[in-house]
């Protein structure tokens, strides 16, 4: 069965994934809107940067973030200057790393949804007197809802499943940075296979339920992808 430290890891994982998903939706939605609508020549470059975490090994991201957020790194210098201390091996550091690592999983579905929207509904709204921000909230966002739902689920699930970045940035501190995937690793290292089964099986079940819910509730979006 699950031990107290397993429960602590699960709670920490859910907290990390929740906070990360909320932050990602807040910055990912405007970013996706910009990528979907802009004619700027920077679009390709920004799009490539957003997609980088899809192809880079998590350890690469973790390594650079560790360097950047360390005492000598630019982010580290800034956080020290701002009185926040250093981010590596803290929950805050994990959140920053997770946001970067899961960014494409949130931005791309929303961007797709905004792109399939086309100009027509937005033009109709403009001719009816709606300001651009009004149009965004009352027409674009509701029509992109399937994409936003997909993004939320993928962002959350992907954060739950991360391991490499966490290990590089967070280490393995109980209640602060020891998430489920790290806890599972510890169990296996200690040859505690029964405990490992509980956690691993739990993760499989969780991921399956999330995806099943997504594809059942959101049939249009899943068939288009």
């Amino acid at each position: 069965m699950l031990s107290a430290s397993d429960y602590a890891a699960i709670w920490l994982t859910l907290k990390l994934a929740g906070v990360t998903t909320i932050i990602l939706l807040l910055i990912g939605t405007p970013l996706a809107w910009w990528l979907a609508r802009t004619r700027s020549r920077w679009k390709g470059l920004i799009g490539a940067v957003v997609a980088l975490p899809l192809v880079l090994p998590p350890t690469v991201i973790g390594f650079y973030l560790l360097v950047l957020m360390g005492p000598e790194g630019s982010i580290g210098q800034f956080t020290q200057w701002a009185g926040l201390g250093l981010l590596p091996f803290t929950f805050g550091g994990l959140v920053v790393a997770s946001v970067i690592y899961s960014l494409p999983f949130v931005v791309q579905p929303i961007q797709n949804a905004f792109e399939t929207l086309g100009d027509q509904p937005l033009e109709a709204a403009a001719t009816l007197g709606a300001r651009p921000l009004d149009t965004f909230f009352t027409v674009a966002l509701p029509l992109a809802r399937p994409g936003v739902l997909t993004a939320t689920v993928l962002g959350f699930a992907h954060t739950v499943g991360e391991f490499g970045v966490v290990l590089m940035i967070g280490g393995n501190i109980p209640d602060k940075t020891r998430v489920v995937s790290v806890q599972l690793y510890d169990h296996v290292e200690a040859l505690e296979y029964v405990e490992a089964h509980w956690l691993a099986g739990g993760l499989v079940l969780f991921s399956f339920l999330v995806l099943a819910a997504l594809y059942t509730l959101n049939p249009g979006q899943s068939s288009r992808r």
Partner: protein
């Protein structure tokens, strides 16, 4: 004259170069083939297309000028798209309310919904409407936002003949009820003849004719562009109904009379009739009624003879008591009859379409 529109736009394969002064009442049809720039012109007036070199003044209010561009949402206009373009996530009722709320419009829902016959659809979602119903809801939505200018981009083009005929009567009643100017883009001559008061003809992004409908239809080299549909639209009053033969006598502005099928319009009503050039022939002598089946014979003066779309044909521009008329005939007939400007002749009108 109070809509001033000047736009210049050029990119490979397409130019738009117009300088128009449009009336602030009635329906102005913007007519042209696809690719003539009519939709681009309409979108530029709406502010949906940003034409860098342009000037647009609506009833003294500048909407666009050098270094000034009023965004679409701040222009008091209504726009009816070719595809109704309703918001798919909102019910008909919420679609109608969308613009009304944002423009703080005081327009009553009832009369407009009634006029367009959509009161039974209010609770439905757009996906559950037919093409014709969608377009009627779109027109109502545009009107409820209290526009001072209504722009319609081929609102019937995406519909089949049956749906078109379902909507045309609504558009005609709009024509009688609306106090605001309407710009109506179309490539269908029959819609233009039925609905328009003024006509702007575009070709290759340029204005080739503009003015009141009847005069413009008959003027310049325009009829050729209408091809088989070349003809004139005249306004007439029902003067008499003959119950024995089920005919009605219509009187044109100049006093000329035309007998047409009695469609039940009351005496005194003003109607719009269309006479196609191919239904008018010319003769030097008026046949006696016993000699010909043609009911309408008008004394006309030949004003001009013009080449037509085919080298065998010619178009004669005629005048009957000040009213323009077109006749299509072969050039051989014209030569044998020695037709030339100033000559008097009899026009035999084979068919008159009453447009209502």
């Amino acid at each position: 004259m109070s809509i001033e529109a000047r736009f210049q736009l050029a990119y490979p394969g397409f130019t738009l170069d117009v300088d128009l002064c449009l009336p602030s009442r009635g329906i102005t049809a913007i007519f042209g083939r696809s690719g003539s720039g009519k939709t681009t012109l309409l979108r530029a007036i709406a502010g949906l297309e940003r034409v860098l070199r342009g000037r647009l003044v609506f009833e003294g209010e500048v909407w666009q000028d050098v270094n000034f561009f009023l965004p679409t949402h701040r222009r008091a206009l209504g726009y009816v798209f070719q595809e109704a373009n309703l918001f798919p996530h909102l019910s008909v009722q919420a679609n109608l309310a969308y613009g009304k709320k944002r423009r703080r419009s005081q327009s009553d829902l009832e009369p407009i919904v009634e006029l367009l016959g959509i009161s039974h659809l209010l609770g439905r979602m757009p996906e559950r409407l037919s093409g014709g119903e969608r377009q009627r809801v779109a027109i109502a939505r545009a009107l409820l936002a209290n526009p001072r200018l209504l722009l319609m981009d081929e609102p019937l083009a995406a519909l089949d003949a049956e749906r078109r005929n379902e909507i045309l009567p609504y558009l005609e009643s709009l024509h009688d009820e609306l106090k605001i100017p309407v710009l109506y883009v179309s490539h269908a001559a029959d819609e233009v003849a039925r609905l328009a008061d003024h006509l702007v003809v575009l070709e290759g992004g340029r204005v080739v004719a503009a003015g009141p409908l009847a005069a413009t239809l008959a003027s310049a080299d325009l009829p050729i562009r209408f091809g088989e549909d070349a003809g004139v639209v005249l306004v007439a009053r029902v003067a008499e109904r003959d119950p024995r033969w089920h005919l009605a006598r219509l009187v044109l502005a100049g006093g000329t009379a035309l007998w047409v099928r009695d469609d039940g319009h009351p005496v005194g009503k003003t109607l719009r009739v269309r006479v196609l050039a191919r239904d008018v022939s010319l003769a030097h002598k008026a046949n006696e009624p016993s000699e010909s089946s043609i009911l309408n014979r008008l004394r006309v003066t030949v004003r001009e003879l013009r080449p037509d779309s085919h080298p065998a044909l010619a178009l004669a521009l005629l005048e009957a008591d000040g009213q323009p008329l077109l006749a299509r005939l072969t050039r051989r007939s014209a030569a044998e009859m020695k037709l030339e400007p100033g000559i008097m002749a009899w026009a035999q009108v084979k068919a008159v379409a009453v447009l209502g």
